[in-house]
């Protein structure tokens, strides 16, 4: 089974290179995106005068056939995507207002998402990104700004979480840094080849493909983690190092690396591919941790507690690097990042201290549950993409709407159930702990 997992991870290496835009990875926006202000609208000619941000250069852009001149927002910072395939140059593909108006309900939504995402992140090392970006987009934030702002909230959150878990003696800084550096390289390689494939085959099938990769990784890895957690739970919860990891640790190929907290000595040639793959998957599905944490557990041989803590270091390095990239393009809406941080910094610390009360396999249970439910959310989107590609006969509008609804609510369910498991396990752990302390006091006093 573990062999299969390894084969799958390596098979995904080339697979994950294709599809999807570079947006998920933090490499900055595409070159066809313009940022600035529309100063004039010419209704008769269906053109606008656009002032580019920073350079103040003025360009004339044409509206596409679906756009109406009266819908164009003037004197507000906007993001414009140019139509690459238009015969005449400078035709707008879409336009979106960069900064949404903050209303009370949006504010509360951001705070709630932040809290649950933080809790999950502190507990399993990753989580939140797969729901935060789509959630922000559904609040009316342009895609690129949502990705940028999520990235900017992710690295301080990961930093605080990593610091806490390092204090609890769970995070392996050396392993984290080695993984992070290789993951950053992995992201670069991933994006380079993605761009090549996108140019060769176009973007039509990319959504379908990304969902398929997402599904395969989540169902397979998530399923395996779940199976392992179930085995541990029924066997008393004592975690052992996987046979695959033991075999990997026997490979004496220089340079050998020793990771003190993880209590592992392993060849760099084993850690590098795991890191690269984490980065490549991050470039493809935006959640590298879904392969990074299982990779550290089953291939390198760290415990679930150490692996999930170490993932936070990787998330910090990758998030900081990504934030600089997005900051250079000036796409971070700091309001969104800071509102998410307002509650996620509490959540992440609560999640981190929660790990000190629970048995190791609970981390695996939470991780697997999240992965499997998120897989459903992605899976139900596949028919829609198939129809777009004309590979499937169109289905009724309301069926599609139902599938969209299932997709959204399964994400909510994934977060909700993970938060519930964490909180219940934590309360149980805390009660048991205080009971045993009282018992000890009773013995020593009596």
């Amino acid at each position: 089974m573990k062999k299969l997992l390894l084969i799958l991870m390596f098979a995904l290496l080339p697979l994950s290179l294709s599809a999807h835009s570079a947006l998920a990875a933090g490499d900055g926006p595409s070159k066809d995106m313009l940022k600035g202000i529309i100063t004039e609208v010419n209704s008769a000619e269906r053109t606008v005068l656009f002032e580019k941000d920073g350079t103040k250069e003025l360009v004339t852009l044409a509206l596409n056939e679906k756009m109406e001149p009266e819908d164009i927002a003037m004197n507000q910072k906007v993001l414009i995507n140019l139509d690459k395939h238009a015969e005449a140059g400078n035709v707008m593909k879409d336009i979106s207002v960069m900064f949404m108006d903050m209303t009370a309900s949006k504010l509360i939504a951001l705070l709630v998402i932040g809290a649950v995402g933080g809790l999950l992140s502190g507990f399993i090392g990753s989580g939140g990104a797969f729901v935060m970006t789509p959630a922000m987009m559904s609040l009316g934030v342009p895609g690129a700004v949502a990705v940028a702002s999520n990235m900017c909230h992710k690295f301080p959150k990961a930093m605080v979480g990593a610091y806490k878990r390092w204090k609890y003696g769970q995070a392996d800084i050396k392993l984290g840094l080695v993984m992070a550096v290789t993951a950053v390289i992995g992201v670069q390689i991933g994006i380079k080849i993605q761009k090549y494939i996108l140019n060769q085959f176009g973007g039509a099938g990319s959504n379908l493909y990304i969902s398929a990769v997402f599904m395969v990784v989540l169902v397979f890895v998530g399923g395996y983690v779940f199976f392992d957690a179930w085995k541990l739970a029924s066997g008393g919860g004592k975690e052992t190092v996987s046979k695959l990891a033991l075999r990997m640790q026997k490979i004496q190929l220089a340079p050998m690396m020793h990771f003190k907290t993880a209590k592992v000595t392993i060849s760099a040639w084993i850690t590098i591919p795991v890191g690269l793959l984490t980065g490549m998957l991050a470039a493809t599905i935006a959640v590298g941790g879904f392969v990074g944490v299982p990779g550290m557990i089953y291939v390198i041989g760290a415990s679930a507690v150490v692996a999930s803590a170490t993932e936070l270091i990787i998330a910090f390095v990758m998030g900081a690097w990504g934030s600089v990239q997005w900051g250079l393009s000036g796409l971070i809406d700091i309001r969104l990042a800071l509102l998410l941080l307002a509650t996620s910094l509490i959540g992440v610390q609560l999640g981190a201290l929660g790990t000190t009360y629970v048995k190791d396999y609970i981390i695996k249970v939470v991780m697997a549950t999240t992965m499997l439910i998120v897989a459903v959310s992605r899976g139900v989107k596949i028919p829609g993409y198939l129809i777009d590609l004309e590979l499937m006969r169109p289905i009724q509008e309301n069926t599609l709407a139902l599938l969209e609804g299932i997709s959204f609510w399964s994400l909510v369910a994934a977060l909700g159930s993970a938060a519930l498991i964490i909180i219940v396990a934590m309360i149980k752990g805390m009660t048991a702990d205080s009971r045993s302390k009282k018992a000890v006091l009773g013995v020593s006093n009596g």
Binding site: K35, D53, G54, K77, M98, F99, M102, C152, H153, F155, P156, K157, M159, V160, K164, Y168, A320, S323, V324, W326, G327, L328, S329, G330, L331, I332, D333, I334, R335, A337, L338, L341, A342, L345, I346, Q349, L350, A352, L353, T356, Y357, G429, M430, D433
Partner: protein, 115 residues
């Protein structure tokens, strides 16, 4: 070289025998006060209410300042180029003060990691 309790006791005895009672007492007393300093663990464990309030006020004022000037802030922070330092710096700044508030808040609520 570490001084064990035995060493301390012996030196106190030596001083006491030489008539230096005060020194002897100080040697033993020091140990006693040190133990005394350690024993009120509940005092050290006292909940960080003040810190929570201080960091909370700092964090809240920073949020207030930012959101009352949101137009200016979003404008400057999204100019691109070297100004990446603004959003990234702000995220660091908030993570320190708000992170410290969150940490103290959990402490004040009595939620602590298992020892």
């Amino acid at each position: 070289m570490t001084i064990t309790t035995f060493d301390k006791n012996m030196s106190a005895v030596a001083f006491a025998e030489a008539g230096e009672h005060d020194t002897a007492r100080r040697i033993l007393g020091e140990k006693a006060t040190r133990r005394h300093g350690k024993s009120p663990a509940p005092a050290a464990k006292s909940k960080p209410h003040l810190k929570t309030v201080i960091f909370g006020t700092m964090s809240l004022s920073a949020y207030y300042l930012l959101f009352t000037n949101e137009k200016l802030v979003t404008e400057i922070f999204t100019m691109g180029g070297w100004r990446w330092m603004y959003p990234v710096g702000a995220a660091f700044f908030f993570s320190f003060i708000h992170g410290a508030f969150a940490s103290n808040l959990l402490g004040a609520l009595g939620i602590e990691a298992k020892k």
